[in-house]
């Protein structure tokens, strides 16, 4: 609330103490803040990066989760343990070596660097596997008798049934990608490929004392995430619930 009011105040009113809670409807703060940085570019970058990351994660999670949950092949359980062990390697540890890897393949300062490394999610694979392994065995038997290939079974039987899991994964990966800062901050340097969060940090670095414009920028960069969350809050909370329940066991 206070942020909304500050973003609508004149600079003089912001610098009063105790803080004033009377808004003065200075909508031009938003105009000034919007014009002070390439926000449209930042927003388009974020939307592009978040949506392509989501698509990639859904594809890799559905394929791998299906294999781990519904197919039988030698070494399956060992491979699943290997995938789970990735949870022990936090992103901070990977900043330095991945920077060098991305530098070597000339991906620094590109969209690729912000999408592909995040294209496989252990959480996503785990969740699809849990869902798939609860499906009745008769489904797979029926598919086998019908002569359906495993890919066909995945696409026309499994995917529709695990849709709730896929939606939860999409929501969390989407918000995670929208909110991510450290990775794009380290791996990119040009506003032409940078996302909103990095843009906001740059804006703060250069306009750090313009509090009315700064809070306007903080508001319009947060608003899309908030609206998105409030619209989908039921799936979000159920997702957190089922993950907590699943991991505890």
């Amino acid at each position: 609330m206070w942020v909304l009011i500050t973003s609508l105040n004149t600079p003089d009113q912001v610098l009063t103490f105790p803080p004033s809670f009377v808004p003065h409807w200075q909508w031009q703060n938003y105009v000034l803040a919007w014009e002070a940085a390439p926000w449209a570019r930042y927003f388009l970058n974020t939307i592009f990066i978040a949506s392509t990351t989501v698509v990639l994660v859904i594809v890799t999670s559905a394929l791998a989760g299906f294999a781990f949950g519904a197919l039988r092949f030698p070494g399956r359980d060992a491979l699943f343990l290997l995938v789970l062990s990735a949870l022990m390697i936090p992103p901070t540890v990977l900043l330095v070596p991945d920077y060098i890897v991305l530098k070597d393949i000339s991906w620094l300062d590109t969209y690729w660097a912000q999408i592909v490394p995040w294209g496989a999610s252990v959480f996503g694979i785990f969740m699809v596997r849990q869902f798939v392994s609860t499906l009745p065995a008769e489904l797979a038997d029926a598919a086998e008798i019908d002569g359906a290939s495993s890919l066909r079974y995945l696409w026309s039987v499994v995917v529709p049934l695990v849709r709730p899991a896929l939606i939860t994964i999409a929501l969390y990966v989407g918000i995670g990608s929208w909110d991510s800062f450290v990775w794009p901050f380290i791996m990119t340097s040009s506003p032409s490929v940078q996302p909103v969060e990095v843009g906001l940090a740059t804006f703060y670095g250069t306009n750090g004392t313009e509090w009315t414009q700064l809070s306007a920028a903080a508001v319009f960069t947060t608003l899309p995430v908030l609206v998105f969350f409030l619209v989908a809050q039921r799936q979000f909370l159920e997702g957190a619930f089922s993950t907590a329940g699943g991991l505890k066991g």
């Binding site: 105790p18 540890v93 918000i175 450290v182 960069t221 619930f241 505890k248």
Partner: protein, 289 residues
């Protein structure tokens, strides 16, 4: 279950990404940590054995960063576990308005760190901020907050709590749905008061959830970077330089790649230790229960 030679093919996309950007680099960082690594020309790198590690262990900056990380981790984990449990118990008891309250509590968790930490910088502004307005309203002395070596870290801790508390609450709420109603009813029939019921009936059944919350939030706290970058930049005078922040400075401000890799290895060992401790504690409980 389908017998399939094609199982491996389904794993290829995910494994390719994990090997290229997680497992491979994780091994690579261990390798780099034994080198004086030249970022511009790797051919000029030369092995230095354990020197990166011994230098770190002897440096005041590293030891200082461990102290800051420990302070930050203990404070955020203890406070968010206690407050999270308290709020979850409250929400669990009252059914009216619960779903609205759940959404309200969870909302800060999905907000972007850069945007909301900028707002909290303003809250902690010594001249015009809300924090000092509250302090002076209740008759307490005003503080310099982010500009003070004593209060900068508590200020970042308060912001982090605000941001993460909702996640803890949801996990505890999920845990509370799994505990047995019969046991609570039996305790009440036997004349247990609310505190006794909580202490002897509810909490023992929540131990796995508490363990999960503590380990997950400790790992998160050790990784915390964004709020430090925007709110304090590791200052004043290194008062908020955590081990993760030191890693960033070494790697991407000073380009000391070898020492930064050694820091990453140490962070990895701490994280892996915490994860294994959780698995072990969980298993021991299972064995004795």
């Amino acid at each position: 279950m389908l017998e399939s030679r094609w199982g491996y093919a389904y794993l290829v996309p995910a494994l390719l990404i994990l090997v290229a950007f997680t497992f491979g680099p994780a091994l690579f960082v261990v390798y780099i940590s034994f080198f004086n690594w030249n970022l511009l020309d790797p051919a000029l790198s030369h092995p230095v054995g354990l020197e990166n590690f011994t230098r770190l262990l002897g440096s005041a900056r590293f030891i200082g960063s461990l102290v800051v990380s420990l302070y930050f981790t203990l404070a955020t984990v203890a406070a968010s576990a206690l407050a999270g449990l308290g709020i979850a118990l409250l929400l669990n008891r009252h059914t009216i308005g619960r779903s609205t309250a759940r959404v309200a509590v969870f909302t800060p968790y999905v907000t972007p760190l850069v945007a909301t930490s900028i707002i909290w910088i303003w809250i902690f502004n010594p001249q015009f901020g809300l924090a000092n307005a509250v302090l002076s309203a209740v008759g307490l002395p005003e503080l310099q907050w982010l500009e003070s070596t004593t209060w900068a870290l508590p200020a970042v801790i308060m912001y982090t709590l605000w941001h993460n508390l909702g996640f803890t609450v949801i996990i505890f709420l999920a845990g509370l749905t799994t505990i047995s109603r019969e046991l609570s009813d039996a305790a009440r029939v036997d004349g247990a008061n609310a505190w006794q019921e909580l202490r002897w009936v509810t909490l023992p059944q929540l131990v796995p959830t508490i363990l999960f919350v503590v380990v997950i939030s400790s790992i998160g706290a050790l990784q915390a970077f964004t709020q430090f970058y925007t709110m304090t930049g590791g200052g004043p005078l290194g008062a908020t330089t955590t081990t993760s922040y030191l890693l960033y400075q070494e790697a991407f401000v000073f380009y000391h790649t070898g020492p930064a890799a050694a820091l990453a290895v140490i962070l990895f060992l701490i994280t892996a230790g915490l994860t294994l401790a959780q698995l072990r504690l969980g298993r021991n409980r299972g064995a004795t229960a």
